[in-house]
């Protein structure tokens, strides 16, 4: 019998494979990013030449765009793997499932959310966000988007085997997303008004750690149910 893979190695193997597929596919990276840009530009276009209106709605628009683009990219997280049978193979691997799942989620976040976070300041500029809000926007995105990925993964895992997965997915995870959205926009708005937003940030951070610790297990359990 060959030596069992260390957890670290297993994590790395999956992470690398997923990143490679994403880079090959490119879609996975460019799509959410493009979607993010599109939503924001379309708003800028359609709300038009009212800079002060734009300014007030900027934190909301940017965060909603980020949330939507995460939501849409989520389906890919397990769908392809489910269809071509890789998911079964992962579940049958000797490693604990939660490690593999975590690797997949991290890869997903790196591919979909990180570029988006890096691009956000530019779009914030387009949306006329108040300069004091930049740091808050960056921090909330940095802490908030992983929560979206982690919680979303649970929803995807639950619905991956269902033909009518899509709707359910939104129905299942949006309720879980809304608190993050409210907290984050509140934080950015507070920042633009120069009031303290550390409290909001602390709650977001707490949510992040809580979901980081629990979500992989929930996803593992959900995947087992789905492939049954």
């Amino acid at each position: 019998m060959n030596p069992a893979l260390s957890y670290r190695q297993a994590f790395n193997t999956i992470l690398k494979r997923d990143l490679k597929i994403a880079l090959r596919h490119r879609d996975d990276i460019v799509n959410p990013l493009l979607f993010f840009i599109i939503v924001i530009t379309l708003f800028a276009i359609s709300v038009g030449a009212m800079p002060n209106v734009l300014m007030t709605i900027a934190p909301g628009v940017i965060w909603v765009a980020a949330l939507l683009s995460t939501l849409l990219s989520l389906e890919r997280l397990f769908k392809n793997d489910y269809q071509d049978g890789s998911l079964e193979q992962l579940l049958l691997s000797p490693c604990p499932v939660f490690i593999l799942v975590l690797a997949k989620i991290v890869a997903h976040w790196l591919v979909t959310s990180l570029p988006l976070i890096l691009l956000a300041p530019l779009l914030a500029m387009m949306m006329n966000l108040h300069p004091d809000g930049y740091l808050a926007l960056f921090l909330t995105l940095l802490l908030g988007t992983p929560i979206l990925s982690l919680l979303g993964a649970i929803g995807v895992a639950l619905t991956v085997a269902l033909k009518k997965g899509g709707v359910l997915l939104s129905l299942l995870i949006l309720p879980l997303y809304i608190p993050v959205l409210i907290l984050a926009t509140a934080a950015v708005e507070a920042a633009t008004m120069n009031s303290p937003y550390q409290g909001h940030l602390a709650i977001i951070a707490a949510l992040f750690f809580a979901s980081l610790i629990t979500a992989p297990f929930a996803v593992g359990a959900a995947l087992k149910v789905s492939t049954n």
Partner: protein
């Protein structure tokens, strides 16, 4: 405790046990609700600030608290379904979800009706209201997910996971009034140490609350029975039951 519980984990025993509970629950709920509502709606004093609208309180708060409590109960059922593979817990989840959703809807509607005179608007996007709305969506999600699976037990397991995850929303609802400054009233009845409220309001409230709780219990038992039957339709005792029904 397991030894004591074990016989009730048998679907047939559970079916009969809940069958015996229903009439009791019904009776208690009827008595408590009639007393409580009479005291609350007719007897207790009108509030010096809020006037007669304060009477919505006797429906709104029990419904709101139960909406959360039932969700918690559902999550516990989910946990036991996942950890101990308790098949009856599947039926319990399916039984609780729609009842919980109904109480959530009642809390929302009565809250909105109360909000109009108090705050001048039916709805605002504030933290407590939004999180209660989210709770309703969570219930919908649980119901929809359960229905989406053709395979009942597979669906039940999926639902268990979701119910457990959704529990995070409960503290958010409860503490939202402290974390955010909102229009909604802070904790008054649920402060255990010293309810900051007149006894003439507190007692009818407590009676109403337990009345609602027993009503919920009876509804859930009824639904639970149906679910147990549906999930065991191939078992001989169910077939016998059906035969007895026919005759």
């Amino acid at each position: 405790m397991w030894k004591w519980l074990h016989p009730y984990a048998n679907p047939e025993v559970a079916y009969q046990f809940t069958g015996k509970l229903i009439p009791w629950f019904n009776g208690i709920a009827f008595i408590l609700l009639s007393i409580g509502l009479f005291l609350g709606l007719a007897y207790s004093p009108a509030d010096y600030q809020q006037g007669e609208t304060v009477r919505i309180f006797y429906i709104h708060v029990p419904a709101a608290i139960l909406s959360m409590g039932l969700y918690f109960a559902m999550a516990i059922a989910g946990l036991s379904a996942l950890v101990w593979q308790l098949k009856l817990a599947h039926a319990a989840i399916a039984a609780i979800a729609p009842v919980g959703a109904a109480f959530t809807a009642i809390a929302l509607i009565t809250g909105a009706a109360w909000g109009k005179p108090m705050w001048g608007t039916w709805w605002i996007w504030d933290a407590r209201l939004t999180s209660e709305l989210i709770l309703l969506f969570l219930y919908f999600g649980v119901i929809a997910l359960g229905n989406a699976f053709e395979d009942k037990s597979q669906g039940a397991k999926a639902v268990s996971v979701l119910a457990l995850v959704g529990v995070v929303n409960l503290p958010i609802i409860h503490y939202s009034v402290e974390w955010w400054n909102t229009l909604h009233q802070g904790a008054t009845v649920t402060k255990f140490a010293a309810p900051s409220m007149a006894m003439s309001m507190y007692i009818p409230f407590v009676i109403c609350f337990f009345g609602c709780a027993f009503l919920a219990g009876s509804l859930i038992c009824k639904r639970f029975q149906g679910q147990v039957l549906a999930r065991n339709s191939l078992r001989p005792w169910v077939k016998q039951l059906a035969l007895a029904e026919d005759n």
